[in-house]
Amino acid sequence: MSDLVWLYDFLAQVLPLSSMQARFMQQALVALLLLAPMTAAMGIVVVNFRMAFFAEAISHSAFTGVALGVLFAVSPGWTMPLFGLLVGLGITAVQRHSDLASDTVIGVFFSAMLAFGLAMVSRDRSLARDMQRFLYGDILTISEAEIWFLLLLFFLVFIFLASNYNRLLYAGINSTLARTHRVRVQILQYLFSGLLALLVMFSVRAIGVLLVTALLVVPAAGARNFSRSAGAMFWWAMAISTSSAVLGLLISAQDWARTATGATIILVACFWFVASLLFARLRWN
């Protein structure tokens, strides 16, 4: 299944750098060009709903998902996203039906996930070796099948957002007000949490458990400082996220850098954020 060769060749021509001639770099670039817009757009809603901690909890359940796969002899490629989805919907349900503050609910889930994951790892030596891959991510070894899956997720996410973005924003501002406008806040929240969980699981593959939340939050946070309107914020987040992903990949491949790709991407995004802070400061003055 190598139907994307034309795309790789095209990217190699657009970016005629020596580092971009390797196929794995071209695949990584395609994956990042799919992932970055998704995390940017979903990240805006994450920031508006204050769901950063939620995303963090999902990403930390990735390892447990893999451990479960090993335990039941199922491919971790399936158990990881499925388990993430389950945790995401579980947290949303408990939040809705309990009086506890949402960060408390997430905190409980978070610890349970992590404890279970660590318990599994401590039993199985071979799993421990994989741990580093999950902590730091590895976009450079992404497979073509995973790229196809990302493409599918890309369409799912953008179809969902294109038809529900305004309602999500509305529900994030004030859910009572949104409901008087016949916005079905509850269903929206479940759908969003589910999609977000899937997206987070795929991002873990690319940039690792530790930095997933950054990919969601940093571009949206920078975009907030740059823009005055919701429309502008969307495009700023897109620009920051995509440019950080591409630049981060290219820099990490340079001889003088040789850094982990995921971390480099987040560093570039953080530079964007600092620039946005300065911009906001100048504008107020």
Binding site: L161, R167, I173, N174, T180, H181, F234
Partner: protein, 233 residues
């Protein structure tokens, strides 16, 4: 139709709870009926007490007003038709200059007008306001209530508001419900807001404080919008 009912009562009397039940936000026992709408629920516009939201959010007033109406995402801006509609509604609440401002940068009084504009965009048959006077100074509150009166007369919606503020109630309500876990008294303001009733509901303290501003038959708002209500009694 066109009446203005005020719900008053001490803290914890259940005023906001009643409104939330009316909006369908709370489950409740019993039955809420809407006589005069042929068995259906009227279109309800809701102006919340204090909109607690993320003030740093980049969102213009025009975008805010379009949120509940535009299906296409705001990425490509607000449609021309909705921009026009937003400007018209803002003009009705004398806030057309706010269209391009950021929602989080509005003052309390400005935000309240924008929230009223949002409720008006739904062409409400019943407009529900929770503490319209809170967070606004005395002058602003007076202007806001007069604005509401004028809109009510021109658009013919029924107004239902929760208020702590007795002067507002006496000036603008055509009907008062005193709530203290149950309906303690109801009727036209002049009959309900008696010192005896008030001290029974709010305690002695409130009765004493409000003796001077008590609405005797001749007392009331001098604004033209209030005159028909006074003539009826």
């Amino acid at each position: 139709m066109g009446s203005c009912t005020a719900i008053i009562g001490p803290n914890g009397a259940g005023k906001t709870t009643l409104l939330l039940a009316l909006l369908g936000e709370l489950s409740y026992q019993g039955h809420i009926s809407f006589p005069g709408y042929g068995g259906r629920r009227p279109r309800i516009g809701y102006v919340p007490q204090r909109l607690s939201f993320d003030r740093g959010l980049p969102l213009t007033v025009c975008e805010f007003l379009a949120l509940g109406f535009q299906i296409g995402p705001l990425w490509f801006g607000v449609s021309a038709a909705l921009q026009k509609k937003a400007k018209e509604t803002l003009a009705q609440v004398k806030a057309e200059h706010l269209a391009g401002r950021r929602l989080g940068a509005l003052s309390g009084g400005e935000l309240q007008r924008v929230l009223l504009a949002l409720a008006l965009q739904q062409q409400p048959e019943l407009l529900v306001l929770d503490e319209p006077a809170s967070g606004v100074d005395f002058q602003g509150e007076h202007v806001f209530c007069e604005l509401l009166d004028a809109l009510r007369l021109s658009q013919g919606f029924t107004q239902l508001m929760v208020s702590h503020d007795l002067p507002t109630v006496t000036h603008h309500a055509t009907h008062v419900i005193c709530l203290n876990h149950r309906v303690a008294a109801e009727g036209p303001p002049q009959q309900v807001l008696t010192p005896e009733n008030l001290s029974a509901i709010f305690g002695l303290h409130m009765g004493l404080v409000n003796l001077q501003s008590m609405p005797m038959a001749q007392a009331g708002c001098t604004a033209p919008c209030c005159q028909p209500a006074n003539e009826n009694q």
